[in-house]
């Protein structure tokens, strides 16, 4: 089947096989490799993207369902040479180690802030529960999301 959709602001038209997952279209066909696969089963969140602004796991999302919808990946979150507020806060707080979870983590956090401008720590924890990070222990990530929502505390701000 053929579908039309929008990705990172660009309209696309693609021929799909019915069982193709969105992550495959994003990574292999469009070459946007910032979206990662940590499990392929919806368990880790490394593949998180936005479909019409909602954070979903692209590894379990059949590509044909994005027909007529708008997809954003980590590459499309901010204009070139700029960082989104969440990306910038991750940098400030050192919320990245190996970086493999980072794209998905930032996509989940960004979707949260779009719905809830000032989330509490408990709300952040609830919203990021689908994203596994094996490296950081999550503390610096929590600090970064609080900071990105303007609730930063100068104390916890790293370099």
């Amino acid at each position: 089947m053929r579908i039309d959709f929008r990705i990172n602001g660009i309209d696309r038209s693609l021929q799909l096989s019915g069982d193709e997952m969105l992550v495959n279209v994003i990574r292999e066909r469009l070459g946007l490799r910032g979206t990662k696969v940590g499990c392929g089963n919806g368990e880790c969140g490394a593949c998180t993207v936005h479909v019409d602004g909602e954070a979903v796991c692209s590894c379990l999302y059949p590509a044909h369902r994005v027909a007529g919808r708008s997809v954003t990946t980590i590459e499309g979150l901010a204009p070139e040479n700029a960082l989104s507020p969440v990306q910038a806060a991750f940098v400030r707080h050192g919320a990245v180690q190996c970086g493999f979870c980072t794209g998905g983590m930032i996509m989940s956090a960004s979707a949260l802030l779009a719905q809830n401008a000032k989330p509490s720590e408990a709300e952040i924890s609830h919203a990021l529960a689908g994203n596994i990070c094996r490296c950081t222990g999550y503390r610096q990530i929590i600090d970064a999301v609080l900071d990105a929502s303007g609730q930063g505390n100068a104390d916890s701000e790293r370099p």
Binding site: G18, D19, M21, E28, R33, G34, T35, K36, V37, G38, C39, G40, N41, G42, E43, C44, G45, E54, A55, V56, C57, L60, H64, R65, T73, I74, E75, A78, L83, Q87, F90, V91, G94, V96, Q97, C98, G99, F100, T102, G103, S108, I124, S125, H126, L128, A129, G130, N131, I132, C133, R134, C135, T136, G137, Y138, Q140, I141, I142, R158, P159
Partner: protein, 1125 residues
């Protein structure tokens, strides 16, 4: 010395690329003409290979190479050499564990490669397997390897024993001797990036390039070269980002040599990426251990003798487990002031996944045993555990029984700081019930002589013509920020800014040899080499400049990236100018650790250049109702010598501690017949964000004279004391000393119940089938299971794995019914797909087509039913997230919204649907791992849960299958008297949810029908509640309870109570309903009635905790319903 770059908080090198998604990992590499590799794995834990026929695979279109052990000749991985070199890259003659690599294929696509693997026919002769180390040492045990690899005796890769000091004399003086035994299973590093390799062989040049997710290019090059028969010079490891290491990627991983050989054969680049399942099944894990400890203690508390006996499960092949033998020996003899010691250790082969390397190399678990024991000693001495530890702490100048000479040592400061930060004195005294604090210490070598090569590093730093400083190192930054701290060291040495320095890692052609990023060596060993390289380069720059400026080198200073003539201040040169004046330059630095090679017989010798110390304190809370342990706070003090970059060290502490929490509370691989049954992030659950406690950190700087700018190792040892600190806190909170890990809620709840002597009345006779089920279960071990397993499963009808169903997308309901009514095609409806797509990969379905109803208008919407304003209609394909956020739902059915918030993860809830939750497949890890079980293979097959690990299974209502109903909405919607509206050829019908099920995962909805909507009647004057307990955040329920109470005045007029996840069908608590109807749900009555919900239960061995759990959740749900009135 005043420092400008070292000791400062600097951003992680390359972090902007990472947050933008621009960093390139091995998974992301795509070369022109690249093929995809797949691996055929052994379906037996132990078997002879009689023959392999690859002809059908080779003939498949799109296949370019098929390899078997023949292609490797008799070559084996080198690893630690000698008898430890026991593993061929592909199995020859024998397979020794389930999942072992037998053959590999390279093809145009991964799907073709997998299909080709399925076409390879291998003839096996099954051999008796052995899984438990104790059994492997028994007289009847099969021999896994010949004696050349088991020099310690049958199945013994190592048998070690040594005394340190006058052991007998020391024991004779003891005031008392304490003895204990601790055990733990296998945990796994679980890097978020699975192992993967891209290999590209250029036959013309005879050169092999490898992009691979590794910590140690040095060892990969060596191993791959010898495995595929090339010279090391022909192999180049290339620079790439690495998604986590933690030891798991520190030595050769099997896909590396396979990708290389496939590329050589196919003459095209080949990429192999392990999937998450393979990563667990075949990836190198940590090792299971049994630790026996006996300590002789003097009246004044001195440790006269510590005697530790360890048994390590090696798995089927030896990787670096011999260093585990050493790591436990080191802690036995060197943690605290031990006067004499005895250590013995068996490293035992079993037919399980080969153990590898994981952060701490077994130290976290050994320290858990030692430190639990230290608490027991302190209590016997009636001393405060913290004060007692401080009294026994290692001190600078000490020589340990292993002959370690302790130089800098901040253990006392660390213990004091950890105690202070956690609020020790006050919290130790206050006896808040089920809250506790505990403390533990650790020791860790920094720059130990771990390798045959010793422990050396070379770093090359270049100043390019463009004025850029590039550090070339063969180590690999797997996320530890090592490239950042190396840049800081180089910058400090050169007098430039950290931002001026770029670190290029991993490339074996650009960088001189270095043993890689493992064994806590980069900061200390590579750091020292980098420091020297920086100094050497600076000397070259100065001498070149002095020639240009016609002055002495001592007349020039370089600071902040600018060289200036000290006496002629306007003579300056920035880096670009320096490069122009001094020409492109480079310099190398070499460092080899001054540690001594340990005595091969005893391990004695001052092994490392220096030693790291630290202490951690934990505060925990234990939930009496569920057994859940919550780590409220950790306090971590670590002697890091000097923190080269405090942000980086803190990050390592946060991360290491959380991995330790995973080890302590939830992680463990579970095996059946040698096969992992929890090979996914769902079932092998690493901690999610909700497990992250607040952590207070104190970095103790002892300024080590041998460290680069005083630094010692930092990242790896952060995990060492975590399990122990938590276990000691749990003991303080509960009085229970757990001697097995993890301290998961099921074990904790069982222990709490046993301690309180609770014995709920199960009255199993109240359920008719139980007599029959109990009889069959009694005969299972000796008669039923062996017969069904050996004979019955031969007749199993298992789904074909390679079959991919096609997807149909109907435009309207009529089309849908048409798609479904073709009797000759096996269809399944898919809406969210979050369960079915996973099930397809698990190989549990045999389907021709999927019919995607997610966008069918008839299945959408939330509104009151057209002609019935007292019924809310929810479209079957409405997502859980949309339902939870709907105003009508929030207003009329808040328990539905709160139930949904407890299901899975946010991403899943945005896609999964209400009907999908109800119709999801049964959840049993044997079924889901495609074991030939009764439900998957048919009536001739056994249920693996009867004798296997059945912690998740039904306690009630099981018959031939014990899988529980996993749906949370099933009990909830049952309690609300909801119905499913079902449409098909013959029209509409309505099924009450409480009657929807035939069995777990099996509904009464016909194969040509579809659920169109769920209808929930409004009921006036009601309150409702839902309680769920999953072992981990985002997990399925182990038990759930939904209650709806209708009130007349202050008493209950009707009551509905349903439980989920404890039986194959939603379990109605009719007796409790009857007992409580007419009451006001007073706590006493509730307690009494709740206890009846387990009547008629017949739990299995590992799921008995569900009995008290279910009672407690029922109580909580009833009391919540009362509160809401």
């Amino acid at each position: 010395m005043s420092l400008h770059e070292v000791g400062k908080r600097r951003h992680q090198a390359g972090i902007e690329m990472r947050v933008r998604g621009g960093a390139v990992y091995t998974h992301d590499i795509a070369l022109p003409g690249m093929l995809f590799g797949a691996i055929l794995r052994s379906p037996h834990p132990h078997a002879k290979i009689l023959s392999i026929d690859t002809s059908a695979a080779r003939a498949l279109r799109g296949v370019h190479a098929v390899i078997t052990s023949k292609d490797f000749g008799d070559r084996r991985y080198y690893q630690l050499g000698g008898s430890y070199s026991d593993r061929p890259p592909l199995a020859n003659e024998k397979v020794r564990y389930w999942g072992e690599e037998v053959a590999a294929v390279a093809a145009e696509t991964l799907a073709v490669a997998e299909q080709a693997c399925a076409l390879i026919s291998v003839e096996y002769e099954a051999l008796a397997p052995v899984f438990a180390p104790d059994d492997a040492l028994g007289a009847q045990a099969p021999e896994i390897h010949g004696r050349e690899n088991a020099p310690g005796g049958k199945n013994l890769a190592i048998r070690f024993s040594a005394n340190y000091g006058d052991v007998d004399g020391a024991v004779a003086q003891a005031a008392f001797v304490l003895e204990d035994e601790f055990r733990h299973g296998i945990v796994a590093p679980s890097c978020l990036e699975t192992n993967g390799t891209v290999a590209s062989y250029d036959a013309g040049q005879g050169k092999l390039d490898l992009w691979t997710a590794t910590q140690a290019p040095y060892f990969i090059r060596k191993e791959v070269a010898q495995a595929v028969g090339l010279d090391e010079k022909q192999v180049r490891i290339r620079s790439v980002e690495v998604g986590g290491g933690f030891g798991g990627k520190s030595k050769i991983c099997e896909q590396e040599a396979l990708a290389a050989m496939l590329s050589i054969k196919a003459k095209r680049p080949v990429k192999i990426t392990l999937n998450r399942r393979e990563e667990f099944v075949s990836g190198k894990t940590d090792h299971a251990k049994r630790v026996r400890i006996r300590t002789a203690v003097a009246e004044d508390g001195r440790i006269l003798n510590r005697n530790v006996s360890v048994q390590i499960d090696n798995g089927a092949y030896t990787a670096y487990a011999p260093t585990y033998v050493g790591a436990s020996r080191q802690r036995t003899t060197c943690l605290y002031r031990v006067e004499t010691a005895h250590y013995d250790c068996d490293l035992v082969y079993t037919n399980k996944v080969p153990g590898g390397q994981y952060r701490g190399m077994g130290a976290p678990h050994t320290i858990w045993a030692i430190e639990s024991h230290m608490d027991e000693i302190a209590s016997r001495l009636k001393r405060d555990p913290l004060e007692y530890r401080i009294a026994q702490a290692n001190q600078p100048g000490d020589v340990t029984p292993l002959k370690w000479r302790i130089s800098t040592c901040g253990l006392t400061e660390c213990l004091e700081a950890a105690g202070r930060m956690i609020g020790w004195d006050e919290k130790r005294k206050s006896s808040a019930p089920l809250r506790g604090v505990g403390v533990a210490s650790m020791i860790h070598p920094s720059g130990g002589v771990i390798y045959q090569e010793g422990n050396f590093a070379n770093t090359r730093i270049e100043l390019t013509a463009e004025g850029r400083v590039i550090v070339h190192t063969q180590t690999a930054d797997t996320g530890t920020w090592q490239n950042t701290t190396l840049a800081q060291v180089a910058a400090e040495a050169l007098g430039v800014g950290t931002d001026d320095v770029f670190v290029s890692h991993m490339d074996t052609e650009d960088a001189p040899p270095d043993l890689g990023s493992a064994a806590s060596r980069v900061t200390f060993v590579t750091g020292n080499a980098t420091l020297r390289a920086g100094e050497n380069l600076k000397a070259k720059i100065l001498s070149a400049l002095s020639r240009q400026w016609n002055c002495g080198v001592e007349d020039i200073a370089i600071e902040s990236g600018v060289a200036r003539h000290i006496y002629e201040p306007n003579r300056t040169a920035d880096l670009l100018e320096i490069a122009r004046l001094a020409g492109p330059l480079d310099a190398e630095g070499y460092f080899s650790t001054p540690g001594e090679r340990p005595d091969p017989k005893t391990g004695e010798g001052n092994y490392a250049a220096t030693y790291v110390f630290g202490a951690q304190a934990a505060e925990v809370e234990v939930d009496r109702n569920t057994g859940r342990i919550t780590v409220l706070r950790m306090a971590v003090a670590q002697d890091v010598g000097r923190a080269l970059n405090p942000t980086a060290v803190e990050g390592q502490i946060y991360g290491g501690v959380l991995q330790g929490i995973g080890m302590a509370l939830q992680e463990e691989m579970v095996f059946e017949e040698g096969r992992p049954v929890n090979a996914s992030f769902l079932d092998y659950a690493v901690p999610r964000i909700g497990s992250a406690p607040k952590i207070d950190i104190a970095l103790v700087e002892t300024d080590d004279p041998l460290g680069p700018y005083g630094a010692k190792a930092g990242a790896e040892p952060t995990i060492n004391a975590t399990i122990a600190a938590i276990a000691n806190a749990v003991f303080h909170a509960t009085g229970i000393r757990f001697k097995e890990l993890p301290m998961s809620p099921d074990r904790v709840l069982s222990a709490l119940e046993a301690k309180d002597g609770n014995k709920p009345a199960l009255k199993p006779w109240k359920r008719v089938y139980n007599a029959e089920v109990a009889t069959v279960r009694a005969m299972y071990p000796n008669v039923v299971f062996p017969a069904l397993r050996s004979v019955g499963t031969k007749f199993a009808r298992l789904p074909k794995k390679s079959k991919q169903p096609r997807t149909l997308v109907p435009g309207n309901a009529n089309e849908l019914v048409e798609f479904l009514s073709n009797k000759n095609t096996k269809s399944r409806i898919v809406a969210g797909g979050t369960d079915i797509f996973v099930g397809l990969k698990q190989g549990i379905y045999d389907l021709d087509q999927l019919v995607d109803v997610s966008r069918l208008p008839e299945l959408q919407g939330i509104s009151f039913a057209e002609n019935d304003l007292s019924t809310l209609r929810i479209g079957a394909a409405m997502t859980l997230d949309k339902i939870a956020r709907n105003e009508l739902v929030a207003r009329f059915f808040p328990s539905l919204a709160s139930c949904i918030s407890l299901i899975a993860t946010p991403q899943i809830r945005r896609v999964a649907t209400i009907a999908g939750d109800l119709c999801q497949e049964k959840r049993c890890w044997f079924f889901r791992s495609a074991f030939p079980c009764y439900k998957l293979g048919g009536p001739t097959c056994p249920c693996f849960a009867v004798l296997g690990d059945n912690r998740h299974h039904s306690i009630n209502g099981a018959k031939r299958c014990a899988a529980p109903n996993p749906s949370d909405l099933a009990p909830l919607l049952s309690s609300l008297s909801a119905c499913a509206v079902v449409v098909g050829r013959s029209g509409k019908r309505s099924i009450p949810i409480e009657e929807l099920y035939l069995w777990s995962g099996l509904t009464k909805v016909g194969s040509d029908e579809v659920i169109e909507a769920i209808e929930i009647p409004l009921a006036p004057n009601t309150t409702a509640s839902f309680e769920k307990f999953g072992l981990r955040q985002g997990d399925f329920a182990e038990a759930s309870v939904a209650v709806r109470a209708q009130w007349a005045n202050d008493s209950v007029s009707t009551l509905r109570i349903f439980a989920g996840a404890v039986s194959p069908l939603p379990l109605r608590a009719a007796k409790a309903e009857a007992l409580l109807t007419g009451t006001r749900l007073e706590p006493d009555a509730v307690a009494e009635a709740a206890a009846t919900i387990v009547e008629g239960s017949l739990p299995l061995e590992d799921n008995q905790y569900k009995v008290p759990l279910l009672i407690n959740l029922t109580k909580q749900a009833l009391l919540a319903a009362r509160r809401r009135n």
